[in-house]
């Protein structure tokens, strides 16, 4: 089952809006909540995406699946799953740091995000500079 563009946009919009509202409440000291609670929309959104990715990847194991041209697709899906896990690791580390559970440097918190952004830039750069030239 594939969601339509409108459904995907609505999902992203709804969770972004919820997160921003909770973030503003926290930053303006109107809500004395834990940072992990503020990030609840992010956790839910990430969980939905990870489950969707895993279900799609598991679909390959079904009997009767045509594996032609599947290797490239599987590689892409694996990268997406890694990217989601990196994002999740970054959010968890950030929350831990904001809640002062740990005193690690912000450079260490940002490492998963940097890997994610560099990976995204490489993929995008390939599309912008290489594929177009072809």
């Amino acid at each position: 089952m594939r969601m339509s563009l409108a459904q995907r946009v609505l999902l992203t919009w709804l969770f972004s809006l919820l997160f921003l509202i909770m973030l503003v409440l926290k930053l303006d000291e109107k809500a004395p909540w834990n940072w992990f609670i503020i990030f609840i929309p992010i956790w839910i959104f990430d969980t939905i995406l990870i489950v969707m990715l895993i279900v799609k990847m598991a679909g390959r194991c079904k009997s009767g699946y045509d594996p032609r041209n599947g290797a490239q697709n599987m590689k892409k899906k694996s990268w997406y799953l890694t990217a989601m896990l990196l994002k999740l690791a970054f959010c968890l580390a950030l929350c831990a740091r904001l809640e002062k559970f740990t005193n690690m440097l912000l450079c260490l918190v940002f490492i998963p995000l940097w890997i994610l952004l560099i990976g995204g830039l490489i993929e995008l750069g390939y599309n912008v500079f290489y594929v177009r030239r072809d």
């Binding site: 339509s4 995907r8 930053l27 912008v128």
Partner: protein, 136 residues
Amino acid sequence: MLFSLRELVQWLGFAQFEIFIHILALLVFTVLLAIKVDGLVSDLGWWNVFIPFFVADGLSTYFTAIVTVRLFQDGEKRQAVLRLFWILTILSLKFVFEMLLCQKLVEQTKGLWFGLIMAPVFILLQLLMIRACRVN
């Protein structure tokens, strides 16, 4: 992942190259932010930390101006004007948000509350939702 690159370009109205510039700016910004917060460089101000975003906004505006001129030359005036208005609206809202946030971080003014700083982002979200309906 959730959106293909083609869908993102269609929805946001930015070219792939512009998206590339903004992600690169985000990467440089996070590096500078980490350096600033960890105190690795003592005389790094908040305005300096935000420079990558301002540069990306400037480059994006320049790129949009070139695309608009080219579209005008090709006779696609309606598309040129619509693209120019959309991109300038998005970039101005982003720029206002960055300026307000930077101002808040520099001066720690009590009057400038985060609800106010985030107002351009909320407007941006509504505009993106409206555009998503149009794209569909």
